[in-house]
Symmetry: C2
Subunit: 194 residues, 2 copies
DNA sequence: GAGGCGGTTGACTGACCGTTCAATCGCCGA
DNA sequence: TCGGCGATTGAACGGTCAGTCAACCGCCTC
């Protein structure tokens, strides 16, 4: 008797993760959810809206988590660690969801509507880096905007490695990935003691 | 009287770059190439094969360029710079091609066949990092495999920023991106003088 | 100028799939 | 027990496209 809407969304995540958005049929989602495919249109206007909903709900949560890190008052390098943790641990929490977000959304075709929300993730990282520079923790000869893209790219690529099964993804390895990227990025950004 | 095959491939790159693989029709490619769509099947077995050909031909070239850098005998950090140059400058060379490779191929659905060739790019970066560690240029407490994914991710994300029009991509900025990512990565990987 | 042949055309087919909707179910309140 | 209504079903529709194929073109050769 769980909320059908949720059931459908969860099923859709599994199906999109398995087959990709374009190649999965509405009927597949319905079957996975254990409903007739017509019922999906009782809850969603279209297949597109299902994907958009998955994106909106979960990406919003990610942004929230990032903002909480940002507001924590920790030093900038610790905040970067917090962001890395949030992103990388989401893999263990819900691998299928990460699969969908990484593959379908991050570089979707007409992302006009999503650009703002995706951009907010980059902006948060950028602000953390800028604060680190202002506090003297990070070097100032690096463009924070570019740096934020590089940092996010490193994180996303690790997720991609796990999504594609090309990088080991046990608890151990997730922790190591976290350590590694923070090590590299933070010493790469570190202020050189003059 | 140019080779029709080439004409079709070039047209396909433009169309895939504009509309994405799944949403672009064979007829669109044909129109862009100035031929009847039936003729496409004279040169290619299917729409899939067109994309696969685009990938194979161009990715192979990228791997070749990477291998040339690797064989250059330069120190590891210079080799990383060479790799970054190769990848980032490809944007100015052929933006549409980069668009297609980044969006359609790097995380395509059934990439079983492509995994080897994609993997070779990571392996090359990994070998460069390992050589840097052996030569004492890079710190040894970082897993070269993970580091290669992080480095590639940073590079690809910058390309993505350009693809999405979210990062400025003038000559100036491309050069700066090159400098920035190498700065960050190389000092992030640098051996700490003990 | 006849014959042949690779290149080229575009109408057509067959299948697929998102979406609609009329019919049915089953719960609940009166 | 009845009526009503939201939830649910799945057959049918409509449109889209990848891929096929029979005909045609124009160039070359003999």
């Amino acid at each position: 008797m769980a909320d059908k809407r949720r059931v459908i969304l969860d099923a859709a995540v599994r199906v999109f993760a398995r087959d990709g958005y374009h190649t999965s049929r509405v009927g597949d989602i319905a079957e996975e959810a254990g409903i007739a495919h017509g019922l999906l249109y009782h809850y969603f206007a279209s297949k597109d809206e299902v994907l958009a909903t998955i994106f909106r709900e979960n990406w919003g949560e990610l942004i929230g988590a990032f903002h909480r890190v940002e507001a924590s008052g920790e030093p900038a390098d610790e905040q970067l660690r917090g962001i890395a943790k949030t992103l990388l641990r989401s893999w263990r929490n819900d691998a299928d969801l990460v699969r969908v977000l990484v593959r379908e959304v991050a570089r979707s075709p007409q992302l006009q509507a999503q650009v703002d929300e995706v951009g907010e993730v980059f902006l948060t990282i950028q602000r953390v880096i800028e604060r680190g520079q202002a506090d003297g923790v990070f070097r100032e000869d690096v463009d924070p905007r570019l740096a934020s893209w590089i940092v996010y790219g490193g994180l996303e690529e690790i997720l991609t490695g796990w999504v594609l099964g090309q990088l080991p993804d046990g608890d151990e390895e997730v922790a190591r990935a976290e350590r590694t990227i923070i090590d590299v990025v933070c010493s790469g950004l570190a202020a050189t003691p003059s």
